[in-house]
Amino acid sequence: MAQAVPLATRADPTATRSALTEGYLTQPIVMAHAWYGPLQAIGTLNLEGLTLQRGELTTGGYGEGYVDRRHPHAYVHELLIGAGGTAAGFGASLFAGRGFAPFGSDDPMVRPFEKYPVNHHLAQVLERVVIVGAVRRGPVIAEVGTFNGDEPTGPGSVPKFSRVGDSWASRLTLLPLAGVELSASVARVTSPEIPQGHGLDQRKGSLVARYAYASRKSSRYALVEWEQTGERDRGVLITKLQSVLAEGAYCRAGTSVAARIERTDRPEEEPLLDPFRTPRPPPDLSNLGESRWTTLTIALAAPATRAWFVTGQPFVEVARLAVAPGDPAGIFSSELRYGTNRMWMFSAGVRLWAGMMHGRMGRYGVAEPDAGMHMPMGTPKHAAESDTMPGMPGMPGMTHSVPMASSPSRFSLISSCGP
């Protein structure tokens, strides 16, 4: 499967204290799954390093040396191999490679908005060398994983293999009702911002409630999450960052509407001459304080159309942002940085994809709620009923129209809910 999103964004104002309008090819990715006997391989190649070097205008966004722009992800977004099986009512799997730690919510790339939320670095831990084990029995899934704490320093950066094992995460998921998913997770991440170590350590917590339902003609999706990250120096809490996010989407006859509201604390850092960049690794004491971002985003997507083997789906997104002093505010001032404390973002683009869409991103093996206990390891997940939708160009038809054990794939959530 391959996808890309030609996109235009206007941010008014942004870190330049003026409005900027830019165009990109964002989220250019190639995904692949392979099976050999009990073994499964997962790969996601992310080419944003080639198309998004300056970062994508995302006012409020931050991480990996970018601020008010989303950073390009690593070329090797996921590359894992694993195996699993079931016995005595238990399912178990073990995966290793580069990918997601078992923490938080799904990657924003597989959710109904093009723009990432501000809380991306609070709610996901990704692109690490992970070893993730999962055990499932009935509606309960338990995961534990260990990984290297250092985050990527660029699209082509190589993880510090010597640090694998210095960080860990664990997630407990409950599937009480069809389509409903509750999860709680914790993580300890050692020195994510300084690959050599000795930077601030993170203790993270996350609570997520997720609902997804799809029928032959419509789909519904909702997610509510709370995250907290404490940054610690030798065990002493320095900053506490919190996020609350709620988002939902409804799709009917191919047209979808989605809304997201979020309030997230952002750590403010000393910027470089380029106001969208911060030094990585940080030189020393460069924490300007915290800002608190409240963001309301509305997204509309038209029915997808297909030409040859490529499917395209136009969309627009509008975001209204407000920034206020966090706790502590330090010396950060939105007036100094932006000239205001209210901003807009307007985006328009077309999601393009070819091939079978990837499902959710961030869980492996029996930890994927879609996998179910009935699904033997080694079975292509896209052959499972719950992962395909009716009428999706290029995709096989869905074989049932009842509430799914978990979510359908992303594009079925967004708009490909049948004509």
Binding site: Q196, H198, P275, P279, P283, N287, P328
Partner: protein, 428 residues
């Protein structure tokens, strides 16, 4: 932090005055010098005399005046009376590419001119040469550099040269200058950058118009943050690798800035070694180095990190013997009034701290000790020893965040990230 030394005659005079006025002052000193085997070229002087002080409430340092810098965050300070130079940091309304020049002859510092350092994001460090002829400014981030100015007219620095190389590309965090065997050098602490390794770069400033890089050493864990050069020894702040002492010509064993030799290392409690001052007290004792620990904090609001006292009687095996701690605040750069034995420390949100560092700092009563069983280390607590003399700037009813201090001629000058420059009366 810069070594601005008081003249020897002043030291002698003030020592006599100090002794005369302190009923519990230093006892008779051991005048026997010490030339350590690891560094025979240095005489560390006599062992510091015992000194017992009563516990008192620290006084408030008297503020004489201040000069404001509202558009940029103020960073380091260097004073050569009657002129002070303050650098700038990060981005406030505009970026920290300016060096402010202040007339500090009166009580209120007056901004008289400034210099823009092109291409700089932050001008985090500034130093004046011992002869007052040169001003050196460090720039971050890429491309890191030092800018060397001629101070023939101290109020109008004239750019002589700009040194940068692939070894300084990540950014020069600090640039200390000092003379070794008559030749002027700059010691550049370079950021980690994309190379993944911090380094110390030594530059020969014999011809300041053409600086020449003479040594590069990858060091620091993960940072190398600052240095202190004096009498042919270089004290290097290596963050979690502690403080290291390099012979760069002082020991008489053939080492030089071009070919330094590591004498010894100490890992102070908590690591995060940021800056150093090698203290020469009025009696001639040179047994202590003061080490600044810079913990994490939030600019304008909080900071962490103690002052650590290291006994370097054996430079090959330096040992931490005492510390000074402030709840809710951490130290940054130092300046020492060596004649009076007062350490002035910038303490970020904790203002300015004046600490009595006369005499033996490593001997104290059991009640004044801190015993770290994990490290098997017993240290004296300078606060419990009654050595906290005064506190400055916390009585100004405004947010302060003090980056640097300099004692000079009975006054203390402080650079405050939020406000600008302060002039205070010395604690003694």
């Amino acid at each position: 932090m810069k070594p601005f030394l008081v003249p020897p005659f002043a030291a002698a005079f003030i020592l006599l005055a100090a002794c005369g006025g302190d009923s519990t002052g230093p006892a008779a000193v051991d005048t026997t010098g010490l030339k350590p085997a690891s560094c025979p070229g240095i005489n560390l002087g006599p062992k510091p005399a015992p000194l017992t002080l009563p516990q008192t409430t620290p006084a408030a340092m008297r503020v004489l005046g201040f000069g404001t810098e509202p558009d940029r965050y103020t960073a380091e300070i260097a004073v050569r009376s009657p002129t002070a130079y303050t650098t700038t940091w990060g981005v406030r309304r505009v970026q920290g590419n300016k060096v402010n020049i202040w007339d500090v002859s009166g009580n209120t510092p007056t901004l008289v001119d400034s210099v823009i350092v092109t291409g700089a994001n932050t001008t985090g460090d500034v130093a004046v040469s011992d002869d007052g002829k040169l001003l050196v400014v460090a720039t971050e981030f890429a491309p890191g550099s030092i800018a060397v100015y001629d101070l023939t007219n101290p109020r109008k620095p004239a750019l002589l040269s700009r040194f940068t190389s692939d070894q300084t590309a990540a950014g020069v965090h600090t640039a200390e200058i000092g003379r070794v065997n008559g030749k002027l050098y700059a010691f550049l602490a370079v950021d980690i950058g994309s190379s993944g390794a911090a380094r110390l770069v030594t530059v020969d400033l014999s011809n300041p118009s053409v600086p020449v890089m003479v040594n590069v050493k990858v060091t620091g864990n993960p940072y190398v943050h600052d240095t202190f050069v004096r009498d042919g020894l270089l004290f290097v702040a290596l963050w979690n690798d502690g403080m290291q002492i390099w012979d760069i010509g002082g020991c008489g064993t053939g080492a030089s800035p071009e070919a330094p030799k590591i004498l010894g290392t100490v890992k102070t409690v908590n690591g995060e070694v940021h800056n150093v001052w090698w203290y020469h007290d009025a009696s001639g004792s040179k047994r202590y180095a003061f080490v600044g620990e810079e913990g994490a904090g939030i600019i304008g609001t909080s900071s962490r990190g103690d002052i650590h006292v290291v006994d370097i009687t054996d430079p090959a095996q330096p040992k931490e013997v005492a510390f000074y701690h402030v709840d809710g605040a951490g130290t940054h750069n130092f300046s020492v009034d060596e004649a009076n034995g007062v350490l002035y420390a910038a303490y970020y949100n904790g203002g300015v701290r004046a600490i009595d560092v006369r005499g033996d700092l490593g001997t104290c009563t059991a009640a004044q000790q801190d015993v770290n069983t994990t490290l098997n280390l017993t240290r004296c607590n300078l606060r419990l020893m009654g050595r906290e003399l005064a506190v400055g700037l916390l009585d100004q009813n405004r947010q302060v965040y003090v980056w640097g201090v300099q004692y000079l001629g009975g006054n203390v000058y402080a650079s405050d990230m939020v406000n600008g420059i302060w002039k205070l009366a010395a604690a003694k």
